[in-house]
């Protein structure tokens, strides 16, 4: 069973529906107890970083996440959920994240007026690490983004970049941890393939 972590922010329905469409068993979980029974975990989210991390800690879900990740449970962060996996974010202040992966979240700097903020719409992937999430996903495949902050890391954990004035780091992975800045649940066939790859991990 795949658990989708609900910390009271954002729209979880899309992720849930996409996984159900792929015939995975899904459960929306709100308590640390419920997280114990999941074979995989997904942390979705839209909204502000500071509110989100506070809500996760308030519900005691941070410890449940550390416990599950320690057990080797495959863990996927999507959009804000991905950002929350890193050390800290500069969104409206300075907030510490879950520190599962090394890196910081900074505001997108528009390279010119052509580049709008938020980075909203479809952009192509420059895939750096194909396996396992991008198996059968072609180089240059388009996925859907909607974000104003982005990842900056010096570690060799980046699995894909997208061009947005800079080579923006949009996917990361290490061990059983996976993060996607874009929305696979809103990225049509390609996105479903990526979610199917995650759901199929053992």
């Amino acid at each position: 069973m795949i658990g989708i972590i609900d910390y009271g922010m954002g729209n979880l329905r899309s992720v849930e529906k996409a996984l159900q469409f792929l015939s995975f068993e899904v459960k929306v979980i709100k308590t640390p107890e419920e997280a114990q029974w999941c074979e995989k975990l997904i942390l979705p989210g839209v909204g502000a970083f500071g509110d989100a991390i506070a809500a996760i800690r308030e519900a005691g879900l941070d410890n449940a996440i550390y416990e599950a990740v320690g057990r080797g449970v495959p863990f996927l962060g999507i959009c804000l959920g991905m950002q929350l996996m890193f050390d800290l974010s500069q969104e409206n202040g300075l907030f510490e994240g879950l520190k599962l992966l090394p890196g910081r979240i900074v505001r997108i700097k528009a390279a010119s007026h052509e580049y709008k903020i938020p980075h909203m719409g479809w952009n192509s992937l420059d895939i750096l690490k194909q396996a396992p999430l991008f198996d059968n996903v072609p180089q240059g495949a388009y996925v859907y983004f909607d974000h104003a902050y982005h990842l900056k890391t010096n570690e060799d954990i980046v699995s894909a970049c997208s061009e947005y004035g800079i080579a923006m780091q949009v996917a990361a992975q290490r061990g059983n941890l996976y993060g996607l800045q874009f929305h696979p649940e809103k990225s049509g066939e390609i996105g479903l393939r990526i979610l199917a790859n995650f759901g199929g991990l053992s």
């Binding site: 922010m9 954002g10 729209n11 329905r13 899309s14 529906k17 996409a18 159900q20 469409f21 839209v46 909204g47 502000a48 804000l80 528009a110 007026h113 580049y115 709008k116 903020i117 938020p118 980075h119 909203m120 719409g121 479809w122 952009n123 192509s124 388009y142 859907y144 909607d146 974000h147 104003a148 997208s162 061009e163 947005y164 929305h183 649940e185 809103k186 990225s187 049509g188 996105g191 479903l192």
Partner: protein, 254 residues
């Protein structure tokens, strides 16, 4: 490469798409779910549902349409029309929409934009602006209400900047003069607004030919172009529009 978006808009009345005819391979031209799936296959980058239902239960009917669509179509979905309260907003998001477009309610109470953005995130808030060019050589555009019947006297450019400052994630800009005329988008309006805000602008109103999309997305500086009847009546397909744009150097997802 970041791409420009082509967005079909579906007018929905009592849970049924109006104006939908001549669809190939569609059993029921009024079924929003079937039409959404059809546009998805045609490489639509997003879908907009515009609720024109007048009844008391409008939001509930729309939430059901959104929910059934989101079961099967996995591209971004924006819903607009008749959203008056934070509760309406929440109901539509919860049903599976990604963004909610607000118009009259934001004009009546601009802090609605701040509230929605802080509760649900800027990325969910689209502010729709219906603008009309001033007459008698007076420069600029006025913002209108109720489908172009009531002039608010607000300046469209100023309102766009204010909406953006209050936390809108995107602007849907419709020119009431060009809407339905099929002679092209109002390039001056979209380029003025797009040059004055940091957030993306969707051009709306006036598409009738391939070059109209090209103009809106290049000289018009829009990030996306929306059309309704053009796609419904199969005057042209989304794929053909995108192919035309691609051949002329506009980045699109194909």
């Amino acid at each position: 490469m970041h791409t420009k978006r082509i967005i079909p808009c579906l007018d929905v009345n009592n849970g049924r798409v109006v104006k939908g005819v001549n669809f190939v391979n569609i059993r029921d031209a009024g079924d929003p779910v079937e039409i959404a799936a059809f546009y998805n296959k045609e490489m639509a980058d997003e879908l907009v549902f515009l609720d024109i239902t007048a009844s008391y239960d409008a939001r509930k009917i729309m939430a059901d349409v959104v929910s059934r669509t989101a079961d099967q179509v996995f591209i971004p979905l924006t819903v607009g029309g008749g959203i008056r309260t934070i509760e309406d907003f929440r109901m539509i998001l919860k049903a599976g929409a990604d963004k909610v477009s607000i118009n009259s309610a934001a004009l009546a109470n601009p802090t609605f934009i701040d509230d929605a953005a802080s509760r649900f995130g800027s990325s969910t808030v689209v502010v729709a602006i219906d603008a009309k060019r001033r007459v008698n050589h007076v420069p600029g555009y006025d913002v209108y209400l109720n489908g172009g019947r009531v002039n608010t006297g607000k300046d469209a450019l100023e309102w766009a900047v204010e909406a953006s400052r209050r936390g809108a994630g995107e602007l849907l800009v419709t020119c009431m003069d060009t809407d339905g005329v099929k002679q092209g988008y109002d390039i001056e309006l979209t380029s003025q607004i797009a040059s004055s805000v940091e957030i993306p602008v969707i051009a709306s109103g006036g598409a009738g030919a391939f070059e109209h999309f090209h103009d809106a997305l290049t000289t018009g500086k829009a990030d996306a172009a929306l059309a309704a009847s053009l796609f419904h009546y199969r005057d042209m397909s989304i794929k053909d529009v995108k192919q035309y744009l691609k051949e002329r150097g506009v980045a699109v997802r194909l």
